[in-house]
């Protein structure tokens, strides 16, 4: 049976639900050494800022049980160099490109969205409001529905193609933020960014990463984000892009059943840069053996019997 893996977010049709998570695939150029990046649904760039950022002092990463803590500090070459140096190469690889943007002022989000809207080869925009690493930006915008709504509206007016808002999980009710994004015209929400975490070297009595706390990613967070995806699914009608701890094809299927239309992979790429190949094979086999022709039949197909989800 021929399976159809296509999914839709706004006006963007992805050839399959696999995307890369921002900040885990550089600008897409390194991954091309390991597999054909045009086989992905989309590549999401590192968070781009108006001016280049050198990022945080080391150490920036440390491994914890089934996960990793990072505090990169949005190190990136800036939006102008991304457009002039990276975009054509990425386009040449045949990839579907989504640019992720971050800023510490509302007007900078607008400038970024305007600059990227002129480039038709950038098929989507993902707004990072939730990077927990940078003192001045990120967390304030992302944890307040009003601020989130303002930024979403600015970006929506400037950027005509698919607009995703990436939500922070470090809030009490993520569904409130998802509703704000939907209300201001986002085409989808990415659920979610990393969780604030911390690890200590007990012999030095020092934090294991320079900024003391950092973002936790990896399989450790998958059940947490699964619950967030389920919560958001019940609150909004726009598509959800799940992001959190995907390592296997089963994880992808699980997120789709919980309500996601697409899935971002991140930390797994560090260990297995060619992992999309095996994920796609696993997904196709699952669909075939389940007699499903279209992957979209899986989305939000959770069987709860009755609505017995507790109210949190």
């Amino acid at each position: 049976m021929k399976t159809n893996l296509r999914v839709r977010i706004g006006n963007l049709e992805l050839k399959n639900p696999l995307m890369t998570a921002s900040g885990t695939s550089g600008y897409g150029d390194e991954l091309g050494d390991y597999f054909d990046v045009s086989t992905l649904g989309a590549i999401v760039s590192k968070s781009l800022t108006l001016k280049p950022k050198i990022g945080n002092e080391p150490p920036r990463v440390t491994e914890v049980a089934c996960g990793m803590l990072n505090s990169i500090g949005l190190a990136n070459i800036g939006v102008e160099r991304f457009i002039s140096e990276k975009l054509s190469k990425l386009k040449g690889s045949g990839a579907t490109i989504i640019a992720n943007i971050a800023a510490k002022r509302a007007e900078d989000y607008l400038s970024l969205a305007e600059m990227l809207s002129d480039r038709a080869d950038i098929q989507g925009l993902e707004i990072n409001l939730s990077c927990p690493n940078v003192k001045e930006g990120g967390i304030e915008f992302g944890s307040d529905p009003k601020m989130l709504g303002t930024i979403t509206r600015l970006a929506r007016n400037a950027f005509p193609r698919t607009l995703l808002v990436k939500l922070t999980p470090n809030v009490t009710r993520i569904s409130e933020l998802a509703k704000a994004a939907e209300g201001e015209g986002a085409d989808g929400v990415t659920v979610a960014n990393t969780y604030v975490g911390m690890a200590i070297d007990i012999y030095k009595r020092a934090p294991k990463i320079h900024t003391i706390t950092g973002g936790l990613s990896g399989p450790a967070i998958k059940p947490l984000t699964m619950a967030k995806v389920y919560e958001v699914r019940k609150s909004v009608n726009i598509p959800i892009v799940a992001s959190g701890g995907v390592f296997t094809w089963q994880d992808v299927i699980e997120y789709l059943i919980a309500g996601a239309s697409a899935v971002e992979i991140g930390t797994v790429l560090f260990a297995k840069p060619n992992v999309p190949e095996e994920l796609l094979i696993g997904i196709e086999n699952y669909l075939s053996s389940s007699n499903l022709e279209n992957i979209s039949e899986l989305i939000a197909s959770l069987r709860t019997g009755i609505d017995r989800a507790p109210t949190h």
């Binding site: 900040g23 885990t24 695939s25 550089g26 390194e30 991954l31 091309g32 050494d33 390991y34 590192k46 050198i54 990022g55 945080n56 002092e57 080391p58 150490p59 920036r60 990463v61 440390t62 491994e63 049980a65 089934c66 996960g67 990793m68 990072n70 990169i72 190190a75 030095k204 990896g218 399989p219 390592f247 930390t267 790429l269 560090f270 260990a271 297995k272 840069p273 060619n274």
Partner: protein, 259 residues
């Protein structure tokens, strides 16, 4: 795009304990063996497990035909697990990665100073130096004698902090001592950060000095930007995984009082 990096399923040929807590593991890994240059590294991951989750970086020690040999001190979860792997067990190697030591020319005198797991780079540098007609001399420091490994066919001048083998003192003190009689054209160094900082301080203004840095790394490919090395010119960071791990000692700032 033509690539010179490979993800290779590599089977263990054998693992040997060669000094205290110190091991050599030999893998069958033909593509990487054919491509690797001195100072380049591989990221090693264990298939079918989430613990450890991330791959581990190893400078390649030596190649023999289609074999890649890694040398390491078993201190953490990844290295301890690797040290117990049996013949025919498999890992995934990603490499060769990074920028290694500069190529040497005929007649060039190079002194190679190593310590701890940094001793890994000795065989591969010596063999490349000999092939290009350069003249290498190896210096290897440790706290005490039982931490030292005698690589086959390599003449090494040892230094120990406690004087139990070779020169009594650090490997940097040994190099300074030798400088009274002669001078190399280049110095290559690989070892713990305090040792590298000392090499940098003593020699960077006198001799072309290249150091291979040790830093936490998550991906080894430039994806995560997790391995910054401070640029001396104050303009930010290099990435150890792509710009390094080998740097001209004059262009980077090692963490002050690194621990």
């Amino acid at each position: 795009m033509p690539t010179n990096q490979f993800l290779e399923s590599a089977s263990v040929i054998e693992t040997r304990e060669v000094a205290a807590q110190t091991f050599l593991t030999e893998f069958s890994s033909p593509k990487i063996a054919a491509a690797v240059k001195p100072g380049q590294f591989v990221m090693l991951s264990f298939p079918n497990t989430l613990d450890p989750l991330l791959p581990r970086a190893f400078s390649v020690c030596e190649t023999k035909g289609d074999r890649v040999i890694l040398f390491y001190v078993a201190v953490g979860k990844g290295t301890t697990r690797l040290s117990k792997m049996q013949h025919a067990e498999k890992v995934v190697l990603n490499g060769p990665l990074g920028t290694g030591f500069p190529e040497l020319s005929r007649g060039e005198k190079v002194w190679i100073a190593v310590g701890g797991s940094g001793a890994a780079v000795l065989p591969i540098i010596i063999s490349a130096a000999n092939n290009s007609g350069a003249s290498p001399t190896a210096f290897y420091g440790a706290r005490t004698k039982n931490q030292l490994m005698q690589f086959n066919h390599i003449r090494i001048e040892f230094a120990t902090d406690d004087g139990s083998a070779g020169f009594h003192g650090t490997v940097v003190e040994l190099l300074k001592d030798k400088m009274h009689d002669s001078r190399p054209d280049k110095i290559f160094a690989c070892g713990p950060t305090p040792m590298l900082a000392s090499v940098q301080r003593e020699f960077q203004d006198k001799i072309r000095t290249y150091i291979s840095v040790e830093t936490p790394m998550a991906c080894g490919m430039g994806l995560c930007q997790g391995c910054p090395v401070k640029r001396k010119d104050g303009t930010g960071y290099y990435l150890a995984c792509k710009d390094g791990p080998v740097f001209d000692a004059r262009v980077i700032e090692l963490a002050a009082g690194a621990v």
